[in-house]
Each structure stands twice: as structure tokens, then as C-alpha cells.
């Protein structure tokens, strides 16, 4: 158990190291010139570009962009270890960490709500579709949600936006709360935040429900034939007990593993969905950073995504033995 833990955390750190390195290489291999982009923006705002050469030199030196790539890499890694993510090129002198930290709560809120919503609804529908005594509606419901799964996140987002914010203006078109509304921790603010998050969350969750339902139906079909389920019936247990504790509880095991894999998929969808709804999360930050060739912000966002996905996998790996007592840590080869 102890050795397994050490090894598993080692793998976790190695994953992050590798991903950060690849991230660094990829972004420096792009033909974008961040300093030229800064100048371009200044010019477009009508600011004077006199002494442009001076500015270029100062910026390049300040950000170490004149150094050989391996020096930049070592310096970047060194800074990371000290928790320094560098400055945003576009919002200079704001630091990357403050840009990213500001966006994290919104993204985490969106992401966790979408994941939980899809996981719970999808698994319930799938389980009921395979349950012999459940209403037959659930069997058809799977196909409805599979239809949604076939639509990409961003199209679904546009579709929902058009339907519920434009055709029937029930929900706001974007942002995290209405402009000019009070921002305290009161009920009105909570409602504001929830209504603004509804469409983005729905865009992300709707497409995932079908996948969860389909795989849950498969898992539940196997469980329905198990001896312990018939035995629970003969014992005269209540239907609800049998369904949740004997049925779903067992069928959920493979689903939890899939949850970690699902994270990565969702994060990529999140970027586009946030952009469409102009939601102030990491997706929008990433989108803007890419547009402005803001190297360090891109690196910061991607680093955060890598860490959160790797961390989720680590946590799920470590809690799995609690869900399935037959799995014991460290005994797998």
C-alpha cells in the first residue's frame, strides 16, 4: 500500500513534467511572435509606435525571449518550481497566476456541475433502462440523449443559445452575471450566477449524458443477471434497496474509472463553450491568450488543465479500493 502510493504519486509528477515540457515545446514551435503581437495591438489602438525597436528590445530582454530555447526552458521550469508563472504579455504587468486564478472558480464551477449532472442523470437513465421493472420510457430516453451526443459541444451551445436566449429569451446570453448587478453573497447573486451558468452547463452536460447512459446500461445488464441480485429479491428486500445498493452500486464501478478519462474530453469542449457564452473562465482566457500570442498565459492555463486532469485520475485511483473492496492497492502487478 505504502509503496504503491509512492509509485502512483511518482507517476503523477512524471505525467505533469512530461506534459509541461511538451506544452513548452509546442508553444515555442508556433510561428507567432508575442512581441510583434503586442506592437500590433498598440498600433491598432492608435498608440504611437515610435521607438518600436526599443520596445521590442526591452520586451524581448525582459521576457528572456532572446535566450536560446533550452535556457528559456530551464528558466521556465525553475520559475514554475518556485510557483512563478511569469507575466502576461497581453495584460502586462499583470501576472499569469492572477489571470488564471481569477478564472479558475468559474471554470471549476462549470466543469464540476456539468460532470456531476451528466454523470448522475446519465447513469440513472442507463441503469433504469436496463432494470426489468423500470418504466420502458427510459429505454427510449437513451436514444434521445445519444442524439445529443452526436452534436459537438459548440454546436449544442449555439443551438441552446439560439433557442433559450434568443427565440424564447428565458436565460441570459452570456457572462457570469448581469452588468451592474450587486455582487454580494446574497440569494439574488446566487440566482444570477445559476441562471447564467445554466446554458453553458447544459451545453457541456447534454452531450455526455448519452454516453454515460449507454455504458451504464451495458454494465447494469450484466449486474441484473448476477446471483446476488436474484438473492436480494428472494430475501424480500425493497425494490429501491435492490436497485441502488445491489444493482447500481455494482454497475457504477467501471463508470467511476471512465470518469477520469471523461475529464480530458470535457475540458476541451469547455474552451469553446465558454467562448460562445463569453463566460469568464479558463476557456475564455485561453482563447484570448491564443489570439494575442500570450505565451505565458497559454502555458499557465494548459498547466492548470494538466494538473487538474492528472489529479482527478490520481484521486480516483486512490479511492477506487474504497468503492470496490476486491481491489487492493499495490497487489496489481
Amino acid at each position: 500500500m505504502h509503496r504503491y502510493l509512492v509509485r502512483r504519486i511518482g507517476v503523477f509528477l512524471l505525467t505533469i513534467f512530461a506534459a509541461v515540457t511538451i506544452n513548452f515545446i509546442v508553444i515555442h514551435a508556433t510561428p507567432l511572435d508575442p512581441v510583434a503581437a503586442v506592437l500590433g495591438r498598440m498600433a491598432s489602438r492608435g498608440m504611437s509606435v515610435e521607438g518600436g525597436a526599443q520596445i521590442v528590445r526591452t520586451y524581448t530582454e525582459a521576457f528572456g525571449l532572446d535566450q536560446p530555447l533550452y535556457v528559456q526552458y530551464l528558466r521556465y521550469m525553475g520559475n514554475l518550481l518556485r510557483g512563478d508563472f511569469g507575466y502576461s504579455l497581453a495584460y502586462f504587468p499583470e501576472k499569469v497566476s492572477s489571470v488564471v486564478l481569477r478564472a479558475i472558480p468559474w471554470t471549476l464551477g462549470l466543469l464540476t456541475s456539468a460532470i456531476l449532472l451528466a454523470f448522475i442523470v446519465g447513469n440513472l437513465i442507463g441503469a433504469l433502462a436496463a432494470w426489468p421493472k423500470a418504466p420502458r420510457v427510459f429505454r427510449s430516453l437513451i436514444y434521445v440523449f445519444m442524439g445529443f451526443s452526436a452534436i459537438p459541444f459548440y454546436l449544442l451551445a449555439l443551438l441552446l443559445l439560439y433557442t433559450f436566449a434568443f427565440m424564447w429569451p428565458l436565460l441570459p446570453t452570456g457572462g457570469m452575471f448581469s452588468v451592474g448587478s450587486a455582487r454580494g453573497f446574497d440569494l439574488a447573486t446566487v440566482i444570477e450566477v445559476v441562471t447564467h451558468a445554466t446554458l453553458p452547463v447544459a451545453s457541456l452536460a447534454l452531450g455526455l449524458i448519452g454516453f454515460w447512459a449507454l455504458s451504464m446500461r451495458g454494465a447494469m445488464t450484466t449486474v441484473v443477471g448476477e446471483d446476488y441480485l436474484s438473492y436480494a429479491r428472494v430475501k424480500g428486500l425493497r425494490e429501491r434497496t435492490i436497485f441502488f445498493r445491489y444493482g447500481m452500486r455494482n454497475a457504477l464501478l467501471p463508470q467511476v474509472t471512465a470518469l477520469a478519462i471523461d475529464m480530458g474530453q470535457l475540458v476541451s469542449g469547455q474552451v469553446l463553450v465558454e467562448t460562445i457564452f463569453n463566460y469568464p473562465g479558463l476557456g475564455t482566457v485561453l482563447y484570448n491568450a491564443l489570439r494575442t500570442a500570450d505565451y505565458f498565459v497559454v502555458q499557465g492555463v494548459v498547466l492548470f488543465i494538466i494538473i487538474s486532469v492528472a489529479l482527478t485520475m490520481l484521486i480516483i485511483d486512490l479511492i477506487y479500493p474504497l468503492l470496490d473492496p476486491r481491489v487492493r492497492l499495490g497487489e496489481a502487478s
Partner: protein, 304 residues
């Protein structure tokens, strides 16, 4: 003998009301505190009969005729609510091969707790833990199995956990379906002795289903031999062994190995196709040839 279970003229068919009858007109009475051994080859209808009594037939099976009464209560007419009353509190079951009947993700204690909650609305408190510990002791298990997961127990231990579960509410009738078939010889003996002790302790009747006549003989009071959906012979266990009438019973007994008699015994009690067809066609009710000894009428004079 006060009758506890009375099955009369029961017919259970598969694949619809006109399909083949797995149980083709069965009359059976099991008395209070009696251990009844139900013996027959695979496909003879013994499991279908017991599932019919338990009200747990597969969706494809249907009772087309006859009645089942438990302690005066008509089980065929029982609705859902009445079944929930009867199931487990009056009528319990020890499954065939307990390898996979316990929920793999719950501790044994939690599975006891589920039964307490769903049947009595009770919680597994200290008092119940003590009572269940005593139950476990009576099936020769230590109370700490409550804190174990099923995969931490051996096959024989799981089987005994199932027996403890079956006697939790002191039911009137326990049906044990091939409860020993998946176990080694030593565990088989322990399980059978446990069942026998349970009868003595809580006064339950037990139907012991199996295809091993010799094993049944160790604990049963009476045995019934089923063939092709019917009983061909029923009688006290000694009578059946000493004076079997029906040729199929004799075939079964002849295939039991013993210390003195080991060579030249048939591997299987396998009748010839002609015998099979002939016995299947005999649908007359059994007649009594001795005290409590019933046999198909055409074989009443045989084997004496």
C-alpha cells in the same frame, strides 16, 4: 404430522400456458419440523417446483393449475404486499452454490442490516449485532464475519452465512436448493448438520433439494423422488432405502457407492429410453403402500 406446506395438483409450464410442463401435477405435503429431501435428476422439475413455492418463477414460467398453501395461506392468490410479508419472514431460501449470492461491495453486516431495515424497519444496533452473532455462532462462524467482505470468506463460510441469513427471522419453512453441491465433502457435512441443528433450534421445516440421495439420507426424515415433473415415490428415508418400489428409485440407490459395495455400480442412474417413455406416461396419482410410503400405482407391487 401437522401439515405446514400443502401443494396439490400443481402444474408449472414454461413458454406459455400451452408449453411443456416442468412440474406436471405435483401433490406434496411437508409437515412442521420436518426435513423433506427432494431428489431427482437435472430437469426433473425439482428446482421449478421450489421456485414456484417461493413465488420466484422466471418470467417464462407460469402456474396453470393447482394450489400452494403455507400454513393455511394461499400463496397462489397472494398479492405483492402479502408476498413481502411471507418472503423471508415465513419462507426463506438457501441458494444453490453461495459463491456469488452475496453483494460483493457490501460487508456481510451491511447485508444483514438491509434485511433488518427492509423487513422490520430496524437498525443493526448493538442488540441486533448480538443476536446475529449468536446466529453466526450456531452455524459455526465467528461474529467477525460481519465486518468482512464476501470475497474474504470461503465457499463453505458463505454458504453458512446464507443459512444464518435464512434463519434470521425464524421462518416456518426453509428451502435449501442444492445447498451443498458446490462444496467439498467436509463442508457439505458441516452445512447439512447445521441445517439439521437449525430445525431443532427454531423448529422450522426444511425442503432439501439435491440429486445426491446418499447425502440427503443423512438428515432427511422423508424423501421424495421426482421424475419428469412428477413424484414417482415418496416415503420415510429408511423405507425408501430398504424397500424401494419404483424402478427409478432402485436405480438411484444402486448408484450410491458404499464401503462394502464399490465395484460394478453404475456411474449414473440412467434409465433406458423405453423406461423413460413408459414412466413419463404414468400420470395416475400415487397410492399408499405402507405407512407414509407412496408410489406410482403401476409399481406398487414391485421390489418386495
Amino acid at each position: 404430522m401437522t401439515p405446514l406446506l400443502q401443494v396439490s395438483d400443481l402444474v408449472i409450464r414454461y413458454a406459455g400456458p400451452k408449453g411443456p410442463a416442468a412440474v406436471a401435477g405435483v401433490d406434496l405435503t411437508v409437515g412442521t419440523r420436518e426435513i423433506f429431501g427432494l431428489v431427482g435428476e437435472s430437469g426433473s422439475g425439482k428446482s421449478t417446483l421450489s421456485m414456484g413455492v417461493l413465488g420466484f418463477l422466471p418470467a417464462s414460467a407460469v402456474i396453470t393449475q393447482g394450489s400452494i398453501r403455507l400454513d393455511g395461506r394461499d400463496l397462489r392468490a397472494a398479492g405483492k404486499a402479502e408476498w413481502r410479508q411471507v418472503r423471508w419472514r415465513e419462507l426463506a431460501y438457501v441458494p444453490q452454490g453461495a459463491m456469488n449470492v452475496l453483494n460483493p461491495v457490501q460487508r456481510v453486516g451491511a447485508q444483514f442490516a438491509d434485511m433488518l431495515r427492509d423487513h422490520l424497519g430496524a437498525r443493526l444496533d448493538a442488540e441486533w449485532r448480538e443476536r446475529i452473532a449468536a446466529l453466526l455462532q450456531s452455524v459455526r462462524l465467528k461474529p467477525d464475519v460481519l465486518d468482512r467482505f464476501p470475497h474474504e470468506l470461503s465457499g463453505g463460510m458463505k454458504q453458512r452465512v446464507c443459512i444464518a441469513m435464512a434463519i434470521l427471522f425464524e421462518p416456518k419453512l426453509i428451502i435449501a436448493d442444492e445447498s451443498t453441491s458446490a462444496l467439498d465433502v467436509v463442508s457439505q457435512r458441516v452445512v447439512l448438520q447445521t441445517l439439521s441443528a437449525v430445525r431443532d433450534r427454531i423448529g422450522a421445516s426444511i425442503i432439501l433439494i439435491g440429486h445426491d440421495l446418499a447425502l440427503q439420507a443423512q438428515v432427511a426424515d422423508r424423501v421424495g423422488i421426482m421424475f419428469a415433473g412428477r413424484f414417482v415415490e415418496i416415503g420415510p428415508v429408511d423405507t425408501i432405502f430398504q424397500a424401494p418400489r419404483h424402478p427409478y428409485t432402485r436405480l438411484l440407490i444402486a448408484s450410491v457407492p458404499s464401503i462394502r459395495h464399490r465395484d460394478g455400480i453404475p456411474m449414473l442412474a440412467e434409465p433406458t429410453p423405453q423406461e423413460r417413455a413408459q414412466w413419463q406416461a404414468e400420470t395416475e396419482p400415487l397410492i399408499e403402500v405402507g405407512p407414509g410410503h407412496l408410489v406410482a400405482p403401476r409399481h406398487a407391487e414391485e421390489g418386495q
